[in-house]
């Protein structure tokens, strides 16, 4: 019975994948569970009062517009606010360069729809954001993964992958999901040169760029590309499409993201968006505009940075305190995640199971690899934005216990005396 529909109506099954993380979310909603699993913002930093004022204002003054159908491109004042905010990072976008999407996830879906025909190649980082894999899988992408290290994408390994003719490169330069690494400035320059030389565009996904806790902000690829092309003509052309979102700075429940691209690309993406959902909720767009305006967003991001920096530091401290010496992890300068590497030969599924039994959750690394999950079998992605500092410490203690139980007797016992 359970396959009746699929069998009878030949529904497609290829490319339809469920995200391990989305499914995990359901387990981790139990209150006793300490979850490092999802990429959830801390609910305690949602600017609830400001939302209340915004809803009241929108419904009192603009209900007839805010509850009605709207333009597929998005609410013009919100697009303008986004364009203005991008200027501080050197991104000189105008309203016509900005398309509002139903979260960054829809941006990925529309990019997939526009670029990928079945069998087309997509170059991406290994590991990479699994929501992107989910979005591109549906369109039948073949992946060309390029490894990353502590400085991000290995630009020195890209010639051959680029020669295989991918339709685009998908890159997360800042505080990468899942690894937490940041693409170094020199590699950013190399990457835009490669894009131009090979004529292969870059999708620059930057959901966390504003959440930097230490170090200097690095120039976005879209800015370096403009400099390289020596163009200053309102993004009529360029090799980079830039994506970002309000999910990590205001609230993910709004589902508001955006795409910055040349007008010609925005026009095509807008037509695809019409077919996909007509437009993003006018109501959430009006409300987000009222919340973000008059400099509130900037002030609020400062608060988020403070809160998340502390949580990151607590997690790094706890990892040092509780984890055995064979285990290593990245030191993210921002964002929401860090990436733990275990010694070889451990059974990650067994560790995951032990962790859940101890009421602590993470995402096993294999989810983040495009082709062969085995590359990820030594890794776990840990989120540090959602849990409170106390729970982060307790969670890492429990996770360390779960890991230790699975370290092979020999390795563990040999190392233990040195460690203590």
């Amino acid at each position: 019975m359970s396959t009746a529909w699929t069998a009878r109506y030949a529904l497609r099954t290829k490319g339809i994948t469920s995200s391990a993380i989305r499914e995990l979310l359901k387990v981790t909603q139990r209150p006793e569970m300490i979850s490092f699993g999802g990429g959830l913002p801390a609910p305690d930093v949602f600017p609830v009062k400001r939302f209340e004022e915004a809803c009241h204002k929108v419904l009192t003054e603009q209900a007839a517009l805010a509850l009605q159908y709207g333009e597929s491109e998005g609410y013009a004042p919100l697009r303008e606010l986004i364009a203005n905010n991008l200027a501080r990072y050197g991104i000189k976008a105008k309203v016509e360069n900005v398309l509002i999407t139903s979260g960054s996830q829809q941006a990925l879906d529309l990019i997939g729809k526009l670029f990928i025909n079945r069998g087309d190649r997509v170059l991406l980082e290994a590991p990479t954001y699994l929501g992107a894999l989910q979005a591109f899988n549906v369109y039948g992408a073949d992946y060309v993964p390029v490894p990353i290290d502590d400085d991000g994408l290995r630009t020195d390994l890209m010639e051959e992958p680029l020669r295989s003719g991918p339709k685009f490169m998908y890159v997360l330069p800042n505080f990468q999901n899942p690894a937490g690494t940041t693409l170094s400035e020199i590699r950013r320059h190399e990457l835009v040169l490669l894009a131009d030389r090979f004529g292969i565009p870059i999708i620059e996904d930057d959901p966390y760029g504003q959440l930097r806790y230490e170090g200097e902000h690095l120039p976005p690829l879209v800015v370096l590309d403009r400099e390289n092309l020596r163009r200053d003509d309102g993004y009529s052309i360029g090799n980079v499409i830039y994506l970002s979102t309000f999910s990590k700075t205001l609230a993910p429940g709004l589902r508001l993201g955006w795409i910055v691209a040349p007008p010609e690309v925005i026009s095509k993406l807008t037509q695809l968006k019409q077919g996909a959902d007509l437009h993003t909720s006018t109501f959430t767009q009006f409300v987000a505009y009222e919340v973000a305006r008059d400099g509130f967003l900037d002030q609020h991001v400062k608060l988020i940075r403070r809160v998340y920096r502390e949580r990151r530091d607590v997690m790094l401290e706890a990892l040092k305190e509780f984890f055995p010496a064979e285990v290593t992890w990245t030191h993210p300068q921002g964002g929401l995640f860090l990436w733990v590497t275990l010694p070889e030969g451990l059974d990650m599924q067994a560790i995951f199971k032990s962790a859940i039994e101890q009421n602590v959750a993470f995402v096993p690394g294999d989810s983040f690899y495009a082709n062969d999950g085995r590359e990820g079998s030594r890794h776990m992605r840990l989120n540090f934005s959602n849990a409170t500092p106390e729970r982060i410490r307790e969670g890492i203690r429990r996770l360390a216990a779960a890991v230790k139980r699975h370290l092979t007797g020999t390795t563990y016992r040999l190392k233990l005396p040195l460690e203590v």
Copy 2:
């Protein structure tokens, strides 16, 4: 320059179409314009006060959940409310049969993604909802159009089209968009029998079902299909997928629709939805639930029916008063649209241009035909929900003047004496 990106990066162009109506919306936002163009609800019936109370309640009591990421299937209490509301029409859906979508348009997109591989056939009405064409075009659908008459889809003409092996039939049984016609009860029975006999599922799109202004409610196809299959087992199987929306009963700016289907289909659609936008805004879902609950939606729909019935009647009256006798139109028992048929041989684009000059807008019929727009060249779709009664009367007067100017001298002068 303008094709630089497309040329350089071989972006797809096939299947990317912009809806005439969406583009039209921009022109018709001028205040002096009387628009019968879009399918816009009347803003004066938006339950603004109830929305205010709902926003306040949600943000006071549930902000941490309502602003956070949510489940891809949708907010469970809202899914339950929808399932309960459907029971009155005999649709015995449970929570697990309901998937919340970002408007009905996203339902159409997900259906297209699930069913259509390039070149697959889709059977649909001629004319049909052009948002469906837009959604299905992207996936490379080939269309098998079947004509409609005053009783809806011509079920007597379907054997051959069904033998051509379409992946599904897309049907709007109630107050069809654009024609305003309703599928008769006998044809509903015939249709579900055909679906079962040929093993071809029906997508039943029912955005307006609740907005009936006269006559008896007719059984949904999904109910007749269950009766025909003699099944009462919680929709584990069946030949019909049912779609509806809050856009015409609460507010389109929320972008909230839903799909009712067997759990196996819901599960696949949910996975596709994860890749498309993770989930629909939790905030709008929480707010819609608070607005709709405790019987408010039912009460509110009664108000909408009263308001729109009057507007329909005013439009029908005005058509009779101002339009020449060669022109005919449908008499919709509900919904938002009626369908005007002009004598043959007129230039609809010229009439449209004259109408816009007179500050009155409509959608030319050719937009609603899948393959050959020429079938639609005698038709106009008129919306009667958005404008006030006074403006409807004035708009029809202006439109009649625009039409009369283009009626061929002979025909018009011959008929005029008889008419006056």
